[in-house]
Amino acid sequence: MSELQRILYVEDEPDIQAIASLALETVGGYTVKTCASGEEAVREAEAFAPDLILLDVMMPGMDGPTTLEALRGIPALVEVPVAFMTAKVQPSEIAHYKSLGARDVIAKPFDPMTLSDEVRRIWKAAA
């Protein structure tokens, strides 16, 4: 793995989508592609070739865990680290999400000024 550059971000809430992409692009300097649903992410992910995937947990249709499972079925993406974003941050839940194959969990609400630091930390830990 070289440098973290391309982030695929899956989130159905337009407000959160806007503030997170701003935070990741402007503060972190990353290239971000956003998808509004798990279905869209599964369609678009391979072509975008992300270095890291951020998944909202609670989405209508395919939720975060289901999307993760579907993404893991795409051979090109097997190695790509995935982190969940969720408003539920009890220690037991973090453990549960990690057991599903996520590298880490980012708590919502996040601070837009430090989100990219957190993402970088997860990336480094995964590398």
Binding site: D15, I16, M58, T86, A87, V89, A107, K108, P109, D111
Partner: protein, 569 residues
């Protein structure tokens, strides 16, 4: 783009997103309210509760990113409660639970901070950068008082302090008004309708007023125990007896507003359980504090030096080092002898707790600790630790720094200015003919005049500027990274606004003016803080001699001995 402009651009965009979010929020809250309104207490509520839970979950997840941490926390609590209802086999919400939910949902709106200033209302950049706070807008004080004369007088005085005052003659009028608009502070007379109505009794049954969540102060001509207790239960932050001591009342009001802009409390969490530490960090952050988790024990002193925590939450048992070891290490450093340290542990053995406390810590919290308890423990401990420092360094009437502290700040900033190669401007301000005010109207009125200049200084200067009461009617302002030109513009604004204030005594109205002497470090490259204060004082003396109500700038003699402002700037 330079770093600074890039950062500003980012802040602007964040602010735009936040504004958009806040704009849509009322609609979302109304939606929640409509949903809860359709609850019937029957099994079919499940669908509605599902929808409510999802929406609250979204609010919990988004609010904090847009500066509404309190909304996030409140929504999360509601979400959890609903989830526990949904977990029950049979769903039958009784009327009390439905009412509770309705109240809580109605209460969500008061967790939303007021919209910040429109860009067009913002003062000149360059002079007053982004450190200006949203609370600098005119604050709305609503007064419920049926005595028209008193209401008129009090209203006028409060307006002198730049508060927008609206008067209501009773609770019903107030109730009608809060539907459209919300005050920043409520002042309510306890006895209304010529003694037939007790406001504290009425308010207990007014969910819409309780839901406002704005600070509340009662005025009363009777000092009766039941009303005072009810006032406390209603969350009142003050109870003032008539005849009103207006300076004290105004001082309390500005203190309440001041507390809102106090810097966030800083907590360092030391716990080897990374998940738990992260959870505590999130909980404290959601409560508006700044929290950091120590990554490795050996970095503890560096982290403390950089983060300057006001409280350390320390796990007692960690694999590498015990909490008592780290607490002892902190205490080896003289600068941190008073830093509050609280142990966290599952230890319930009182004797071992006492032994642990003997080794450098102040208190003990037993795990598992609830989120609410954690926040309350941290908050009260920091608040108490902050107090003595404030009391030592701050003037009790104005809340500004005292003589010694402002002098120290001036010296520090002059040294810093030299180090970073940017100018600092010092200003000395003195109320003109103040003795005449005291002699003619009494000291209470004199205090109002003093507090009003203090309030003006606070409102017009940046948060990074330092303000102090230097003597009786003399003030010093330290404006870091501000050249003479910009300083003059701000000070001129303060001088003009102060001259425009009207003060009252009985039926007499009078005005006051101030004279200002200023000095910029750029003109005195060799001198230190005390020298510059002397120079500012000389310039002030020139302003007085020149006819008062004006600003004079100091220049080193003999190059420009008697330069007036017009010919030099």
């Amino acid at each position: 783009m330079t770093d600074a402009t890039a950062e500003q651009a980012l802040k602007d965009r964040l602010e735009q997103l936040r504004a958009r979010y806040l704009e849509r929020l009322p609609e979302e809250l109304t939606g929640l309210n409509t949903l809860q309104d359709s609850l019937t207490g029957q099994e079919q509520d499940r669908e509605v509760l599902d929808e409510l839970q999802q929406r609250l979950h979204k609010l919990a997840g988004s609010g904090g990113s847009f500066g509404c941490a309190e909304l996030s926390a409140a929504a999360r609590l509601l979400e959890q409660r609903i989830s526990s209802w949904l977990g029950a086999e049979a769903l039958a919400l009784d009327a009390a639970s439905r009412q509770w939910l309705a109240d809580e949902i109605a209460g969500l709106s008061r967790t939303v901070p007021a919209q910040s200033m429109e860009p067009s209302e913002q003062p000149d950049v360059g002079v007053l950068p982004e450190t200006r706070h949203a609370v600098d807008r005119v604050l709305k004080v609503w007064l419920v008082e049926d005595d028209a004369e008193l209401a008129g007088q009090l209203g006028q005085q409060l307006q002198s302090f730049n508060y927008a005052v609206r008067v209501f003659d009773g609770i019903d009028a107030l109730k009608r008004a809060v539907k459209g608009e919300q005050p920043d502070l409520l002042l309510i007379d306890v006895m209304l309708d010529e003694g037939r109505e007790n406001a504290t009794t009425r308010l207990v049954d007014c969910p819409e007023l309780k839901a406002l969540g704005c600070p509340l102060i009662f005025l009363s001509d009777k000092d009766d125990f039941p009303s005072r207790v009810r006032a406390v239960q209603l969350g009142a932050q003050g109870y003032f007896l008539k005849p009103l001591d207006v300076p004290r009342l105004v001082s309390r009001i500005s203190q309440i507003f001041e507390e809102r802009r106090a810097p966030a409390q800083r907590v360092l969490v030391v716990d080897d359980d990374a998940d738990l530490a992260e959870h505590m960090r999130l909980v404290l952050t959601a409560a508006g504090m700044e929290a950091r988790v120590l990554d490795a024990p050996r970095n503890i002193m560096d982290t403390i030096a950089a983060f300057r925590p006001e409280l350390v939450l320390m796990d007692l048992y960690m694999p590498e080092y015990a909490g008592t070891d780290l607490a002892g290490l902190i205490r080896q450093h003289e600068a941190y002898i008073h830093l509050p340290i609280v142990y966290l542990s599952v230890e319930t053995d009182i004797e071992r707790q006492i032994e642990a406390m003997g080794r450098g810590a102040d208190d003990f919290l037993t795990k598992p600790i609830s989120d609410v308890q954690l926040v309350a423990a941290a908050r009260s401990r920091i608040a108490r630790a902050r107090q003595p420092e404030e009391r030592i360094s701050k003037d009790s009437l104005t809340g500004l720094l005292k003589h010694a502290s402002i002098k120290e700040a001036a010296s520090r900033e002059v040294l810093r200015a030299r180090r970073i190669g940017r100018p600092v401007t010092l200003a000395m301000l003195d109320i003109d003919h103040f003795k005449r005010v005291n002699d003619a109207y009494g000291h209470a009125v004199g205090d109002v005049v003093i507090m009003s200049i203090a309030t003006l200084l606070r409102q017009r200067l940046r948060q990074s500027d330092v303000i102090g009461r230097y003597g009786g009617e003399e003030f010093v302002a330290v404006l870091p990274e501000c050249d003479a030109e910009n300083a003059r513009r701000v000070l001129e604004d303060i001088r003009r606004n102060f001259a425009a204030l009207n003060f009252n005594h009985r039926d007499e109205r009078f005005g006051c003016t101030i004279s200002i002497g200023m000095v910029c470090s750029a003109d005195y490259p060799e001198e230190d803080g005390p020298d510059l204060l002397v120079a500012a004082d000389e310039a002030l003396y020139r302003a007085k001699r020149g006819g008062r109500d004006q600003i004079q700038r100091a220049f080193p003699a003999p190059a420009l001995p008697e330069c007036s402002e017009a010919s030099t700037t």
